[in-house]
């Protein structure tokens, strides 16, 4: 349970003059829930996109489940599930139709499709709503559906980009229950968030600020080294320290 599945080494992404990801190096081990924290524009989404094979890195390397993201993005995609920041399933398809579509697209073998579909529906709690038009679901349900669609092909690694933004606290709690479930089953979950309480749920965290990783470790480690009691306070103090530095 301790081999690294996601490794980045000096990852850099530039858009023209703007450096979105500035020499990020980290390792995530199998089954870990790895959290990515940081203010808006810190580079979290960009890093995730690189790791998913959606963007090519300007410099540096990254491997996901042993596959190099720059050289072998297709292999990477077969091994991951992705939930983007903005809800991106099909509004005008039903819950079941969305699941069916992603089953097909992820290449879930025919014999397993029904089982996976039922599993996703059960996991997301959408069995009653399987025929509902996705557009009509409340925010929390949409997120769960998106998560369900991301795990249909049982990917070893999940990338979740701010999966709970705009969702009420109870739904958020339930969503994290699901993440724990998945982690317990052996999925690696790479999740970005700006909710401080969620930071506490992660096994380990990286704090990003202006493209750089400015803090790395478990919640306990971070609180200790910053001398703060809550992650919120840790966050504020680290950011202030960084701002003072510049």
């Amino acid at each position: 349970m301790s081999e690294p599945t996601v490794i980045t080494d000096g990852l850099v992404k530039r858009f023209g003059d703007f450096v979105a990801v500035d020499h990020v190096s980290l390792e995530v081990t199998r089954g870990e829930i790895f959290g990515f924290l940081g203010p808006n524009g810190a580079g979290k989404s960009t890093t995730i996109r690189i790791l998913c094979g959606l963007l090519a890195p300007t410099e540096g390397r990254a491997t996901v489940n042993g596959f190099d993201v720059a050289r072998d993005p297709e292999a990477v995609k077969r091994n991951i599930g992705y939930m983007s920041q903005k809800f991106s399933l099909y509004d005008d398809l039903t819950v079941e139709e969305n699941i069916e579509f992603f089953s097909g697209v992820y290449g879930v073998p025919r014999e397993l499709r029904a089982a996976r579909r039922d599993y996703a529906l059960r996991m997301a709690g959408l069995e009653e709503k399987r025929g509902s038009m996705t557009r009509l679901l409340a925010g929390g349900w949409k997120q769960r559906l998106a998560l369900g669609c991301a795990i249909l092909h049982e990917p070893p690694i999940l990338f979740l980009d701010e999966p709970t933004s705009g969702v009420d606290p109870i739904a958020r709690r339930m969503f994290w229950d699901l993440i724990y479930q998945l982690s317990a089953q052996g999925h690696t979950v790479f999740v970005s968030t700006h909710y401080m309480d969620e930071a506490e749920y992660c096994h380990r965290l990286a704090l990003m600020y202006r493209g750089k990783v400015v803090a790395l470790g478990s919640p306990a480690e971070l609180k200790q080294s910053a001398g703060m009691a809550t992650m919120e306070e840790v966050f504020v103090s680290v950011i202030e320290r960084e701002e003072a530095r510049q």
Binding site: R78, L89, V105
Partner: protein, 378 residues
């Protein structure tokens, strides 16, 4: 390798999208139907029942005879006998009549004396097309009447070969009743297919970008080519359905002649449609917003198909610069094929060049679309 399963998933999704999106449905079904109604039923370039006033300054049996000819012809609708030039002028100004026939006061006198009797035709030239045709018909009618008078006079005199030495004998091929609908409705198929091909298809990829679903798609193993084929197949099916509807409506409801090979028609339509679809996908991949994709599609496909393909306006009459431009409008070739199949009943041996061009166009565009999609996606 292309996964059939993934492609099919994309195709099924596209079908659902089209069915559920009101705008797409309108473009896919309503608009072709409206166009069929318009061009099959409402619009025509045929000229007949030309509203006419006659100012008979002579009032003789001969002049009344001539007027009777006008009345009896299906081309003219003699609305009233005007009492003066001014009445005709005012009526033409008011768009009430198109033609004024003025019979000179000494009409019958001149005829009796065996001289030239004058008839003046006043035509509203604003609509040059109708005016030309109206003048043709009116002059032909007067000439025919003149010829008859001559023969009658000769018969009375008892002999003489003063008939017109040469007569034109006109035969019309392919569209003997000269109905404009017969050449417009087949050409309409090209326009309809362009609507599907470009306007509908141009929305698909741009819409995925705009709603964010493209990003989700890209993170999956689906390949650009599978995406292309999946989207193409759904729209292709729809396009062929529309073509069949247009064909059926044209032949059954509007009685457009269909003298050629139906299979050839479907084959040519399939090639044309495929090329157009690839163009639509290309536009959709290049333009990130649906609006832009749609506008570009309209300007580059619908408008040329409408105006520059020979569908309604004859290409041979256009300035040579414009004629050159029409060579790069694929719809032009397709309209030639359509007219050939429907009206002329000819086959590949006549329009093989056009088919070749369309096939080349389809292949090239497929390559471009696939490449562009791959670029944008990778």
């Amino acid at each position: 390798m292309i996964s059939f399963r993934r492609t099919r998933a994309v195709a099924r999704k596209e079908f659902l999208h089209i069915l559920r999106d009101r705008r797409s449905l309108i473009a896919a079904l309503a608009m072709p139907l409206v166009l069929l109604m318009l061009f099959g039923y409402a619009l025509t370039l045929d000229v007949d029942r030309i509203p006419t006033y006659v100012y008979d300054q002579d009032g003789s049996p001969e002049s009344r005879d001539l007027i009777g000819r006008f009345r009896g012809s299906r081309y003219f609708d003699v609305r009233a006998l005007a009492g003066s030039h001014a009445v005709i002028e005012r009526a033409i100004d008011r768009n009430e009549v198109l033609l004024g026939v003025v019979i000179a006061p000494d009409f019958s006198k001149h005829l009796a004396a065996g001289q030239e009797a004058g008839v003046q035709l006043l035509v509203d030239g604003s609509d040059s097309n109708t005016a030309s045709i109206a003048l043709n018909y009116a002059e032909a009618l007067a000439l025919a009447y003149s010829g008859e008078l001559r023969s009658k006079a000769m018969n009375r005199r008892g002999g003489g070969e003063l008939k017109a030495p040469v007569e034109p004998r006109v035969r019309v091929w392919y569209n003997s009743e000269l109905k404009s609908r017969n050449f417009i409705v087949p050409g309409l198929i090209a326009v309809i297919l362009m609507i599907i091909a470009a306007m509908l298809t141009s929305l698909t990829i741009a819409r995925e970008w705009e709603s964010g679903t493209m990003e989700q798609l890209l993170s999956t193993p689906v390949r650009p080519v599978e995406l292309l084929f999946g989207k193409l197949s759904a729209h292709f099916a729809l396009g062929m359905l529309d073509m069949a509807i247009a064909l059926g409506a044209g032949v059954e409801i509007f009685h457009v002649p269909m003298r050629g090979n139906v299979l050839m028609l479907f084959a040519a339509s399939a090639i044309f449609l495929f090329g157009g679809l690839c163009w639509g996908v290309f536009l959709s991949a290049v333009a990130r917003s649906q609006l832009l994709a749609y506008q570009t599609a309209v300007i580059t496909t619908f408008l040329p198909a409408f105006l520059l393909s020979g569908f309604v306006f004859a290409i041979e009459n256009m300035p040579w610069v414009v004629q050159l431009v029409t060579y790069i409008v694929p719809a032009r070739y397709f309209v030639t094929i359509l007219k050939g199949i429907f009206l002329k009943g000819v086959g590949l041996h006549v329009f093989w060049r056009e088919v070749l061009f369309l096939a080349a166009y389809a292949v090239v565009l497929f390559a471009i679309a696939a490449k562009k999609l791959r670029q944008k996606v990778a």
